[in-house]
Amino acid sequence: MSEKPIQKPEYVKQPLTRRQFAGRVAAVAGLGGAAAYLGLAPEGWPGSLRDTTGLLSKPVDKPLRINDFRVDKPALAADVGIGRGATPADRLRKALDAIGGLQHYIKPGDIVVVKPNVAFDRAPNLGATTNPETLETLIRMILVDCRAQEVRVTDNPIESPPDCFAKSGLNAATGKAGGRVYLPDSNAFRVLNTPGAELIENWAFLHRPFTNADKVIGVAPVKDHNLCSASMGIKNWYGLLGGRRNQFHQDIHSIVSDLSIMMRPTLTILDGSNILMKNGPTGGDPSDVKPGNCLMAAVDPVAQDAWAYEHLLERGRNYPRYLFKAEEKGSGRVDWQGRIKEIA
């Protein structure tokens, strides 16, 4: 058997001395020992990476802060606009004109998040969810009149989100108008930090649709509510919370007032087309729903809710406590006198 030829004759071989060899063995042993210590040393020892409880590797979610989406209203425009007319489109246009027009608030290229109330798996005739016709009109106005880049429609309903969006007619309305529905999934939430909030200072928030968003508009129905008398523009933001949010119903006025500082929207639209006068928030009997010819748009959601409580729900001036708490937190003023403009 002939000797195997050297395949790489250009390689220069260098011999290793005994000292060098010992040094390298020591280095390898040192590194191995250090790795073994880090991995095997009991939990709590300096530098130990053992994590039997899992606490060491628990992900730390840095609380998020979202933007203040408010836009200063034009000089001489009202804080709250009321539009009256035969169709939702007519009412919406008039209400927006009263506060300076939608084009003042939404600029070309904006990414706009629209938050309807899709809380329940109910047909639109029961008045428990936002009127699909109003939502469709609003999306068209944002995309066509204001030339926004994108309209994202989102909510975190109590029941199955796809079923709620489908049955309420809001999925179809969004698709028809050119918007896109963003449904919540477990990865769409992040912990939101709301300074000054009593109950939700750090709480899970449906964040994903708000990524890179420029403007936010809430579109809520006017409803009776079993616990807090009324569910209107401010209460609508409850739908962006995640986690076991039902516990907040024990202190409903605090949570609703917290919502007013959690979200500082560009605009709040309150739809008085189908008012759920009693047995809210779920309803169940179309005769509890009173048809109306009024739609509101506002930059002050507190004044807007106060006016709607008095004039649309017809409950007088004994306003819900959460409105006063929201005022204390700087979200607006309950006293709407002199700040309303109505276009019939």
Partner: protein, 371 residues
């Protein structure tokens, strides 16, 4: 072959090749550039992504949502050997609902969902507290569809008939045009009906007031008295006396669970307005047995006598006049029941009303001998 190479190479990182090709150099440079750009993109992107790229599609979520069922209907109902045919009240799929809710083109959309006190907020958050205040035990929810329209049936187990009446009244049902059929009662809405039967409070609501929805709702209503109802949870005799026996409407009925007449020993009383006398009302209370009835009767009589003057008294009956209000109060022991009239204008009127009430109780007892 014996390997003669050293174990360690003293110059491991030294390029020992004498030549490195141009292509290799260019590729290396490009590779490093791509790596640098990728790293920059990852670092710069942070939250600046299009959420649509990371969104789960509507179709996927919809598919998942139908897969998440809280109640798994048993695949096959257990039927005792030899009793086949008698236990077919509910077929698999309709859960607690009578099988007759489906048919004539209408079928279940998804499974029947069941919620209890711990998770009812997942279905009716915000409204749940009102039901819980009236003894809520479970909510059974079924969605029916005929392909174009849909009907939702909400069936609340409130534990007892008085609780059902309580939630019915709290939601304003007693002010509506209530219809009855036996123990089943309901009023119509434009898209269905709302009513109760035994411990069940139900709402049937279609998505539109079409003829097909209304006729399907009628069919569902017809099946409602097939719901399971124990004697304890069924409408009590007092209710039957006031509605069937005396013909009072729902708006004329009231029920007080405790502290009746502001006495802590009186509970579970039914009241009904006396026709033709705005201030007078019948009252009825069922006790477990005659001995207990006598005990309560005696105590009630003694307490009332503190504020009233006794006008007439027999072994099982007493008529009194309030010392200040001057209204007439009559109380009678009738087997296991306490019956009476409160707030009558005259003793004769009180006696007449009490007699009508007593006759109605006796008639209803004959109708339902177990009562």
């Amino acid at each position: 072959m014996l390997r003669t190479d050293r174990v360690f190479n003293r110059q491991p990182r030294k390029v020992l090749r004498r030549k490195i090709g141009l292509a290799e150099t260019v590729f290396g440079a490009c590779f490093v550039l791509v790596l640098a750009l990728s790293t920059y993109w990852v670092l710069a992107q942070k939250d600046n992504f299009d959420p649509a790229d990371r969104d789960i599609s509507y179709e996927t979520l919809e598919k998942d949502s139908t897969g998440e069922v809280l109640y798994e209907t048993p695949l096959k109902l257990w039927v005792e050997p030899g009793q086949a045919g008698t236990a077919a009240a509910a077929l698999p799929g309709t859960g607690i609902f009578p099988a007759a809710i489906v048919g004539e083109g209408w079928s279940l959309k998804g499974r029947v969902q069941v919620f209890d006190v711990s998770n009812v907020y997942e279905k009716i958050n915000g409204a749940a507290e009102q039901y819980i205040a009236f003894g809520f035990k479970a909510l059974h929810w079924a969605d029916l569809t005929d392909g174009t329209r849909s009907i939702a049936i909400e069936l609340y187990d409130q534990g007892s008939f008085p609780n059902v009446l309580g939630i019915f009244a709290a939601q304003g049902g007693n002010k509506r045009d209530v219809q009855t059929r036996g123990d089943l009662f309901w009023y119509r809405t434009s898209v269905g009906m709302i009513g109760g039967y035994g411990p069940w409070y139900f709402k049937i609501a279609g998505d539109e007031a079409t003829e097909s929805v209304v006729s399907a709702a009628d069919r569902i209503l017809a099946a409602m008295d097939d719901l399971p109802s124990s004697r304890e949870a069924a409408a009590p005799l007092a209710y039957a006396v006031l509605t069937r026996g005396l013909g009072l409407g729902f708006g004329d009925l009231a029920y007080e669970r405790e502290n009746v007449f502001q006495y802590d020993f009186l509970s579970d009383f039914w009241f009904g307005k006396v026709p033709g006398d705005a201030d007078a009302r019948y009252f009825l209370n069922e006790q477990a047995d005659a001995a207990k009835t006598s005990e309560i009767y005696e105590r009630f009589r003694q307490e009332q006598a503190r504020d009233c003057t006794v006008l007439d008294e027999g072994e099982d009956r007493v008529v009194m006049q309030h010392k200040f209000l001057k209204t007439i109060f009559a109380l009678q022991r009738e087997g296991g029941m306490l019956i009476g009239v409160d707030g009558a204008a005259t003793p004769a009127a009180a006696a007449g009303s009490l007699e009508r009430l007593r006759e109605a109780v006796r008639r209803e007892r004959k109708t339902d001998p177990e009562a």
